[in-house]
Symmetry: C2
Subunit: 363 residues, 2 copies
């Protein structure tokens, strides 16, 4: 990244030599990423992050399909990230129609429910790959298959299938052909990559409108001078995630399960939010009956443990409860749950420190 930060001010869309170096770096990064995604390189659209990718996917498909005689319909879940749910609120304000599927106790939706909700005006199904709060992994391949079958049977290109894969890429395949998705969102910040960059994979068949207008970069879908160092860093992070995927999944699954067992054993009134199966290897989310989770996060911080309650993106609002946990049918747990995120630096010994700290905070 540093190299391209210092080939400083050459606009990659300009003609002179420094600009060509930048252009080449963007082209190479796009190619590397396309290989991991198993898509065409022109299907990779660089964005400023996951929120922007999700906005472009949903609003772009909405704006491309709405007209006086057609109300686009969308299907999604009630546990999506705010950068999906808030966009759907805006789509409803603009006259679109949205079906919110409910999840079961494990945080999962069923492909059967998706199929039952598809209507002739459904333009897009958007289901997150893995949940940011409870780590539940949705049955993306199954849903992709169900949608493909419906399209074939009805001889139509719609609905498209979008997945927000921001939380999944470190541990699960993001091969868009295998998954059967038409649009897929990634964020640099969630994969040890640079901040302020992400991408939306948009298959060539997708009819989509831009939402940022200007110089016409990124096939006209995302105008704005390309952030070359960040794009180079993103490609590096995605390649690294791809190569470490299997070993990190194996390693962290063991640490995670050890952590869950240790906590449940130490605190008889605690329960796991979500289930062990179909769960991201880096996610532990526990409900401690009647705990004030906001207070617990602050107390744990003093002891050197970074925990979260609900989603960081929700703590900006007055409401500090977790709608995700609440939607599992565990209303009381919405205000009493703690989330711990494991990563490349996490070792088994950290679990023991975590349990010790929890014992001090939760009496």
């Amino acid at each position: 990244m540093e190299k391209y930060q210092s080939v400083s001010f050459a606009n990659p869309s300009a003609l002179y030599k420094e600009a060509l170096v930048n252009k080449e770096a963007v082209r190479e990064s796009r190619e590397k990423i396309a290989e991991v995604l198993n898509c065409r390189k022109e299907e990779v659209v660089f964005t400023s992050g996951g929120t922007e990718g999700n906005n472009l996917a949903l609003l772009g498909v909405f704006e491309a399909h709405k007209n006086k005689d057609f109300t686009p319909h969308f299907i999604t879940t009630n546990v999506e990230h705010p950068s999906i749910l808030e966009v759907f609120k805006e789509i409803e304000r603009r006259g679109g129609e949205v079906t919110y599927l409910t999840v079961n106790e494990a945080g999962l939706i069923s492909s059967k429910n998706v199929l039952a909700s598809i209507k002739t005006n459904t333009v897009l199904v958007s289901v997150m790959y893995a949940n940011n709060e409870i780590g539940s992994i949705e049955p993306i391949r199954e849903i992709g298959k169900v949608i493909k079958d419906w399209r074939q049977k009805n001889q139509t290109e719609l609905p498209y299938f979008h997945t927000d894969a921001c939380q999944a890429v470190l541990y699960l395949t993001i091969d868009v052909l295998k998954l059967g998705v038409d649009l897929l969102t990634l964020d640099g910040i969630k994969i040890y990559g640079p901040k302020g960059v992400g991408l939306l994979c948009v298959k060539n068949n997708v009819k989509i409108s831009p939402y940022l207008f200007g110089g016409g970069q990124e096939k006209g879908l995302r105008s704005g001078t390309e952030n070359v160092p960040a794009i180079v860093g993103l490609a590096f992070a995605i390649e690294k995630a791809d190569s470490l995927r299997d070993s990190e999944t194996f390693r962290l699954t063991q640490i995670r399960d050890y952590g869950i067992e240790s906590i449940l054993k130490s605190f008889p009134n605690s329960t796991l939010n979500g289930e062990k199966e179909n769960r991201l290897p880096n996610n532990i989310n526990i409900c401690f009956t009647r705990l004030d989770s906001e207070f617990a996060v602050i107390s744990l911080d003093v002891l050197g443990i970074s925990a979260s309650y609900s989603s960081s993106c929700r703590t900006l609002k007055d409401d500090s409860s977790s709608y995700v946990v609440g939607n599992l049918g565990k209303r009381d747990c919405a205000l009493s749950s703690l989330r711990f995120t494991l990563g490349r630096e996490t070792k088994k010994a950290d679990i023991e420190s975590l349990v010790e700290a929890l014992k001090q905070v939760i009496k």
Copy 2:
């Protein structure tokens, strides 16, 4: 910036200690910038760059005001950057109305023409502070005064006044009170700052809708995890631009004028695009009769000189002519002009190398 790049993955909206360090850095950066802009700190909205700032300003004001019984009207110029002109095309597609004021030979509009164009449904006037191609400095304070008078006379808050100041901030004041603007766009990349970050100053009185939906960051106007290292870098770049402004303006004006004189003297068939007065100190833009500017840019590059024809953001399109130069009433020059941008590294001796190189390319 490095410090905050390595406080890596703490979401500044979260609660734990690393997150609070990030939050504090964003708060401090916002305060520093507000001081230079002479605005309130909550009026600084961080964006991913200039294109996004311009999109938010125009589409945000449009969406906040349009309704079934009201068609918002906008006033702008025909030499704006594509990230303004393309957004206005989209606003027209969505049912808005836009007046494009023409510039005189020097690239300037008059405040009188702005006043004459204001209608009862005018919601926003958007005029660039300084042109990216020919460096012409528009009479922003005069326009600001004219708009303020109109609002007072008509007892209304509208129209708002927006300026795209991306090109101006290194050499001209960006005190929004002195300028009389309600919205002002800045971009990190144009001021020796980081890529992928910028800001829109939005005065508290402005009624504006978000265009990115999600976690509700930046007063809900720009959702998405804050890019902390980039924001810290942007604040540093703006402070540095502010402290170097007077000395760099003085130094570069002399080099620029020496350059313009040297070129005009060496090439009898050349003319200056725009005028010497009301021109950015870093901009030289010359029309060489019947020159193929695309070919000249490539030839100069071989000799170590980075030049541009038209705007970089336009070279993505098939049309390689400059609409800005064309709109000065110099149609023949649209395909025969070269632009040279001076900067902190530029010395007087560079002008001599430039003239030598030009002599080799233009026979």
